[in-house]
């Protein structure tokens, strides 16, 4: 039991880091422009498919394909921002309108992937020599370990970006008060488009690395990641990007430890119950944040 618990805690931390990054992307987009990107998981799915095709067609490994995916998703985010968000912000209830629009986009992406690539799950061929590493009495798969290292680097880079650069500080300022930033000469529109780009870039990176931990790629995989992202940002506080990382760790640990006690079929219920419970008890999230 002790060993099982340790193993669950280790997996919880590894997965929690990934969940945290998925949530951080969603949270930056929500915090900066109150846009609820319900297609977040589907963007992740596209990145996972891209990695799969890079690997199958050109024998490029997941880490190298990041070089293509990062700029591509950043650009795509800026383009989507300019196509959709200004119009959304003009509608009567922008938050609900954005939620429904992006829900529609998630259906469009899923349908297109189904039509083009079919419903069969795709598996990434395992790119590393040794399948698992030993840490004391515990085992972790090499893919997960590499994934964790890269996720940590990305998270660190995100912290440095948000707290040490002008652009990052501007993004945090907009999250705190959209109107006040105009006084100090920040253009919210310009920053918002960059923020959307960064949000998508984060989800693109996590999506590209996801096959290292979960090798199965399917057109329907997006919805569950969108849900995870929501649990994570509600845990960490809506509009608080760094809270998401901690929220991710909490969720990863809860999910993995609870599988020791609950039947496997019920494990998805955990995320739903956590979401309901947290919102009902403490809608501003456990770590605070800018809740409206």
């Amino acid at each position: 039991m002790g060993n099982l618990l340790l193993q669950a805690i280790l997996s919880g931390i590894l997965l929690g880091m990934i969940y945290g990054l998925i949530g951080a992307g969603l949270n930056i987009i929500y915090g900066v422009m109150r846009v609820v990107n319900f297609a977040h998981g589907e963007f992740l799915m596209i990145a996972a498919y891209m990695v799969y095709w890079f690997s199958v067609l050109y024998k490029i490994d997941p880490l190298s394909s990041l070089l293509v995916i990062i700029p591509l998703f950043f650009l795509a985010g800026m383009i989507i921002y300019h196509l959709i968000v200004p119009r959304l912000l003009k509608s009567e209830d922008p938050e609900m309108a954005s939620f429904l629009t992006f829900y529609g986009i998630s259906m469009i992406i899923t349908a297109l992937v189904l039509i083009v690539w079919g419903a069969d799950p795709r598996g990434l061929r395992f790119p590393y020599a040794t399948p698992s590493l030993r840490v004391g009495t515990l085992y972790i798969s090499t893919g997960r370990a590499i994934h964790f290292v890269f996720s940590s680097i990305i998270a660190l880079a995100l912290v440095l970006f948000l707290y040490r650069t002008y652009l990052g500080k501007a993004i945090r300022a907009i999250i705190q008060n959209r109107d006040a930033v105009k006084i100090v000469g920040i253009d919210p529109n310009k920053i918002s488009s960059v923020a959307f780009g960064i949000g998508l870039m984060l989800v693109g990176m996590t999506g590209a690395l996801i096959p290292l931990t979960f090798p199965g790629i399917t057109p329907g995989m997006g919805a569950s990641y969108t849900l995870v992202a929501f649990v994570v940002i509600v845990l960490g506080g809506l509009g608080n990007p760094m809270g998401s990382i901690i929220g991710g760790l909490i969720f990863g640990l809860t999910e993995n430890i609870s599988t020791l006690f609950l039947p496997l079929a019920l494990s998805p219920v955990i995320s739903f119950f956590m979401l309901i419970l947290i919102i009902m008890i403490r809608p501003q999230g456990f770590l605070g944040g800018t809740s409206s």
Binding site: L88, E95, M96, A97, G104, L112, A265, F272, I276, M280
Partner: protein, 313 residues
């Protein structure tokens, strides 16, 4: 002197009579019975979704939960306890009301929080039902009701429920309750100052909006003869209710009817020929509607020609 024949009352009466005649003669028409049946079902769903989203601005993204609970209660009560099907359907409707009261606490949430929590409740319910002992809910294979298959009878019950839902929306819309709901939606604080009990008023709309989909779910279980967790709790059911109501015009009476007739007909034709395209088209439709046509047909018409408000509600 007002026109004796083409006045507002006569036009509405003529449309209502024609519509009634069409649906009453449903089984005799040279159209598939399942098409007219599901047309009525979707009108009911869009109408009752409109009571909550159109009149209060609350978006229950897990709306399918009421439909699913209605169909499961009906099937379980009929098949396991031997309760007559009509009674089971009514009890399924009662179950929907109970569920709405159980979820009533979520009404204090706003906007996206309410939508997400409601969605989570629906999905948790789906997983729980799928994992109940097979002797009760039949597990992931569901329950068969084919021995009491009676398409004509269930068709007319659905017709009754649809008419009831339309009359309910109409009565709500012209009553004090309807005015109070619109006041709360437009400015909750001002409504409270005017002496409207916000929580109580919202709850009434919520319970009404839960009752009809639960009945519809039960009747659908009877009409189609089989239920399972995946199709009874399919998120696309919520989606269609949203799209149909929004296309016709949220916050109006005729809107959801027009929207459901127009889009369900289209959906039926496309679904029959190109099943894969359905998801794509629904997705495109919902995004475009929200971005470019948020008021829907009736909402846009009455905004452009205010005099039409006398004729269409």
């Amino acid at each position: 002197m007002p026109n004796v024949f083409f006045n507002r009352k006569n036009i509405i009466l003529a449309i209502v009579v024609l519509g009634l005649l069409f649906f009453l003669s449903g089984p005799r028409l040279p159209i598939q019975l399942s098409f007219t049946f599901y047309l009525m079902l979707w009108i009911t769903m869009a109408i009752s979704f409109n009571i909550i989203y159109g009149y209060t601005g609350y978006l229950p993204f897990g709306y399918v939960a009421f439909y699913g609970v209605g169909s499961y209660l009906t099937a379980v009560l009929w098949s396991r306890l031997g309760i007559p099907i009509i009674l089971s359907i009514l009890m399924g409707g009662g179950g929907g009301i109970l569920l709405s009261l159980l979820f009533a606490g979520t009404l204090r949430l706003r906007g996206i929080y309410f939508a997400i929590v409601n969605f989570s409740c629906a999905m948790a319910l789906r997983i729980l039902i799928a994992n109940l002992p097979e002797e009760i809910t039949g597990g992931s294979f569901g329950i068969h009701l084919s021995t009491i298959y009676n398409p004509q009878f269930s068709y007319y019950i659905m017709l009754g429920v649809m008419i009831l839902s339309i009359i309910t929306l109409w009565r709500v819309s012209i009553s004090r309750l309807g005015i109070a709901l619109r006041c709360i939606r437009d400015d909750a604080q001002a409504a409270e100052v005017m002496g409207i009990n916000i929580a109580k008023t919202r709850l009434k709309a919520w319970v009404l909006a839960a009752f009809f989909p639960s009945l519809a779910g039960g009747i659908d279980a009877w009409f189609s003869g089989i239920i399972d967790p995946a199709s009874s709790f399919n998120l696309l059911i919520t989606t269609k209710a949203i799209v149909y109501a929004m296309f016709g015009g949220l916050g109006t009476i005729t809107g959801p009817i027009v929207g459901a007739i127009g889009l369900y007909t289209l959906d039926h034709i496309i679904w029959g020929r190109y099943p894969l395209l359905n998801l794509l088209i629904l997705g495109i439709m919902i995004s475009l509607l929200v971005l470019f046509f948020p008021r829907g047909i009736i909402g846009t018409l009455t905004r452009k020609y205010p005099s039409l408000r006398k004729v269409i509600l």
